[in-house]
């Protein structure tokens, strides 16, 4: 199950598994967050438990909606996955 929480610091925390199985839900959550037009958003990935290319692609599309969105605290294991598919520099 994937969840999106916003905290007081204006950060969006992605919690759960960002994989193909949750892709549809993750997109809806991200779209919902987008519609609230947040001013300064940072994405906090500390609570992310799994990530595949489908999930990474969604986060990337979300990032593209902003001029400067910082993506923070990506767990090392998931960073490895991003590294493998050449998305580290594009997403983090």
């Amino acid at each position: 199950m994937i969840e999106l929480h916003s905290n007081q610091r204006g950060q969006l925390a992605v919690i759960g598994e960002a994989t193909i199985f949750e892709a549809a839900r993750l997109r809806d959550l991200l779209l919902g967050a987008l519609q609230q037009r947040p001013a300064a958003v940072a994405l906090d990935l500390a609570g992310l438990e799994a990530l595949d290319t489908a999930g990474a692609q969604l986060l990337l599309a979300f990032k593209h909606e902003f001029a400067a969105l910082s993506v923070q605290s990506c767990p090392p294991k998931l960073r490895e996955h991003l590294e493998k598919i050449g998305l580290t520099s594009l997403l983090l």
């Binding site: 610091r9 193909i20 892709a23 549809a24 993750l26 997109r27 991200l30 779209l31 987008l34 595949d52 290319t53 489908a54 692609q57 969604l58 990337l60 599309a61 979300f62 593209h64 909606e65 923070q72 996955h81 493998k84 598919i85 050449g86 998305l87 594009l90």
Partner: protein
């Protein structure tokens, strides 16, 4: 005949054939070139297929047919025997065994079908049948000794995720075939979040793989996504080896490639060159086939390629790399901490400063570790001289023992490489001119075996290399007489012993045509000094008549970073290498006098040193009016001490040396100011983004005072 009897015969024979196949493959795996084994395997597969046809076992016929065709290409050397292929062939044997087991259990051989595993194995065999893995690939393979760079462009079917595949899995598989050098994702087709289907793949990839495996093995990785994905594999080994080619290309070829001369002209020039013993570039210019600038440009290109190529590989102790990795780890932690601090509004100033200082410390450690990666032991250079000494000694009828000390001393790889030639020259000089013949040595009461000592040691930021011999030494009186005779000094010049020995390094002190025992020591020493100066080093000589001579070379540890003193001259900032600086004098408290014909002299505690104003050399807007108290920096070049007047000293800084052309994008104006560049060895980018020229003190000296006068 009873169909069951026929089937039994078929099964019995098949067991033998399978066993032949397996033995043959085992042999092939250990000896890929064993043609007997290849023929045996092929025959077995072929017989198995024919027999299966006779009993109507179509599935086996279909499978064996593909395997046989692959083996046929192996037999005719169209595809190389490599591990992945042998593996697929072993898997094929397993499939055949499975089919035969099924045949043993049923009377209806024609009903047996290929299962999933069999189909997969068939798919794995198929690429070996495609002409692209044929002879051409094979030849290319041999040409590059197997190792090649493949550029893989991947564009997946949109529903790849839905099939349970992830590009990351495929990249993992690629990693098993070789070294994945880079993975670049292309997001060009990624739509906006609102319009994207979250279950579709919109990304494309370009992967650079270094592998020894045949292209077919790479294709196999994508076997299950190949149908609906676009896969392009290109061998880019040649493109990436371009530098190698360029460095080795003869000049003529380079010019032809550039479209500057025709092949016919080069051929003609080559003929002329043989007759005239000239350089090809010169001949081409004389033939009016091209102009000197084009030749120069091509030569430069060739040189750059050689330099780049030379610096592309270095052997690094894994321990050094481990330390580097640890530091990078620390860096990541510190950055995270700093990041966190930056978002804590109530963090105190002191805590923030502490975080920056930690980062700074790690930065410094990283710098020194990275520099250490560039360091190589001088043993590599020293070891070349053992053979040289032995051969030369034998040729000259001398007995020489070469000893080395401090072999483990490390210095920058570039420095080490550029030092090899001057060192060789000096070792040769020592054997040829420094050491006496065995008879002379015995007469002088020495052992008949001369001793040459190469010693390296690190002190502070320098490496000091000594080349000593216990030979006849250099007679200062004879050096002086020679210099007088050559007009290098005047009758009334009073030189200290050190200055006398320095004369040995002057161009024209001695020429190869008239080598004698003493002046012989000077042969080529001007070139040696120039080489050493190019490395920002200095060289001096000490000698005791009858006892021996020591040349001492002092070099900075690295060329890439120097300790520099930043000074202000007019509007410009310049950097003086700290290794040349002796002391600083305030011009207010120092006597500067102008002497007829000698220029300005500065009185340093009773010793008069010549002085030069940098603003004069660089034609900077003079500053004396605006600066109340200019500073005189006393510097030492290889030849002498002198004063350099600057407006202000800004401070000391570790300076990263960049070649001029890299620091400036506008090259033409630099070329125009070439004369001034003689005094400049490079440039550096200051903290505020401005560029500072790094002074070459020997060059400043040459410009200000000429070679000697």
């Amino acid at each position: 005949m009873d169909p069951n009897v026929l089937r039994d015969i078929f099964l019995t024979e098949s067991d033998e054939l399978i066993s032949d196949l397996e033995h043959g493959l085992v042999t092939l795996e250990s000896t890929p070139g064993d043609t007997d084994a290849i023929h045996r395997i092929f025959r077995a597969a072929h017989t198995l297929k024919s027999n299966a046809g006779m009993v109507g076992m179509d599935s086996l016929v279909r499978f064996a047919h593909v395997a046989e065709n692959v083996l046929s290409r192996v037999r005719s050397n169209e595809i190389p025997i490599e591990l992945p292929l042998v593996n697929v062939l072993f898997r094929s044997v397993d499939v055949l065994k499975g089919l035969l087991a099924a045949a043993a259990a049923t009377a209806e051989l024609d009903k047996i079908v290929l299962d999933g595993a069999a189909e997969q194995t068939l798919k794995a065999l198929t690429p070996y049948l495609s002409p692209s893995t044929g002879a051409a690939t094979n030849r290319q393979h041999e040409g590059t000794r197997g190792l090649k760079l493949l550029q893989i462009d991947l564009s997946f079917a949109p529903d790849i995720f839905a099939t349970g595949q992830d590009p990351a899995f495929l990249i993992t598989d690629l990693e098993e075939l070789g070294q994945v050098l880079s993975v670049r994702a292309n997001t060009k087709h990624l739509p906006s979040l609102a319009s994207m289907n979250p279950e579709e793949c919109y990304l494309d990839w370009r992967i650079l793989l270094r592998t020894e495996e045949p292209r077919a093995s790479v294709e196999n990785v994508f076997l299950f996504v190949m149908d609906r994905s676009k896969l392009r594999i290109e061998d880019v080994t040649a493109t990436h080896c371009h530098l190698d080619d360029l460095a080795e290309s003869p000049l003529g070829e380079l010019l032809v490639d550039e479209g500057l001369v025709s092949k016919a002209d080069v051929a003609k020039a080559l003929d002329q060159q043989k007759a005239q013993q000239k350089r090809i570039g010169q001949v081409l210019v004389e033939m009016n086939a091209t102009d000197a600038t084009a030749v120069d440009r091509a030569l430069r290109k060739q040189q750059v390629a050689r330099q780049i190529r030379r610096s592309t590989s270095i052997r690094v102790d894994t321990e050094k790399l481990d330390r580097l990795v640890n530091l990078v780890g620390e860096l990541a932690v510190s950055i995270a901490q700093a990041n966190q601090l930056s978002r804590q509004p109530n963090a105190t100033q002191a805590v923030r400063i502490q975080a920056v200082e930690t980062l700074e410390q790690i930065g410094r450690d990283l710098q020194s570790q990275v520099m250490s990666v560039r360091m190589v032991a001088i043993a590599e250079t020293f070891s070349r001289f053992k053979r040289l000494t032995r051969d030369l000694a034998q040729e000259l009828g001398k007995h020489v023992f070469l000893e080395t000390l401090g072999d483990e001393t490390e210095l920058d790889k570039n420095v080490s490489e550029q030092l090899a030639d001057p060192l060789k020259h000096m070792v040769r000089n020592a054997v040829a001119h420094g050491l006496e013949s065995p008879a002379d040595r015995i007469q002088a009461g020495k052992s008949d075996t001369g001793r040459i000592l190469l010693r390296a040691q690190q002190c502070q930021g320098y490496v000091v290399i000594e080349i000593s011999d216990d030979g006849r030494g250099i007679d200062p009186d004879r050096v002086l007489a020679k210099a007088l005779e050559r007009g290098l000094i005047g009758e009334r010049d009073h030189l200290t012993e050190r200055q006398i020995y320095d004369l040995l390094f002057l161009p024209g002190f001695s020429t190869a045509q008239e080598v004698n025992e003493i002046s012989g020591r000077g042969v080529g020493l001007d070139v040696v000094r120039k080489n050493v100066a190019d490395l920002h080093g200095s060289i001096e000589v000490e000698s005791a008549l009858g006892k021996g001579t020591t040349f001492r070379i002092k070099l900075p540890l690295t060329l890439a970073i120097i300790e520099g003193m930043n000074v202000r001259v007019g509007p410009d900032t310049m950097t003086i290498p700290l290794s040349s600086v002796i002391e600083l004098l305030s011009s207010n408290n120092t006597q500067v006098n102008t002497f007829e014909g000698k220029g300005e002299l500065v009185d340093v505690r009773g010793e008069y040193l010549p002085m030069v104003r940098l603003s004069g050399i660089f034609e900077s807007a003079s500053c004396d009016a605006s600066t109340a108290d200019p500073v005189i920096v006393v510097v030492e070049s290889g030849n002498r001490r002198f004063g350099v007047m600057v407006d202000r000293v800004l401070g000391l800084e570790q300076t990263v040396v960049k070649p001029l052309r890299q620091a400036f994008s506008v090259v033409s104006s630099l070329d125009h100011n070439y004369r001034k560049l003689e005094a400049v060895s490079g440039a550096t980018i200051l903290g505020d983004g401005n560029i500072a020229l790094i002074l070459d003190i020997a060059g400043v000296e040459r410009m200000a005072f000429g070679a000697l006068q």
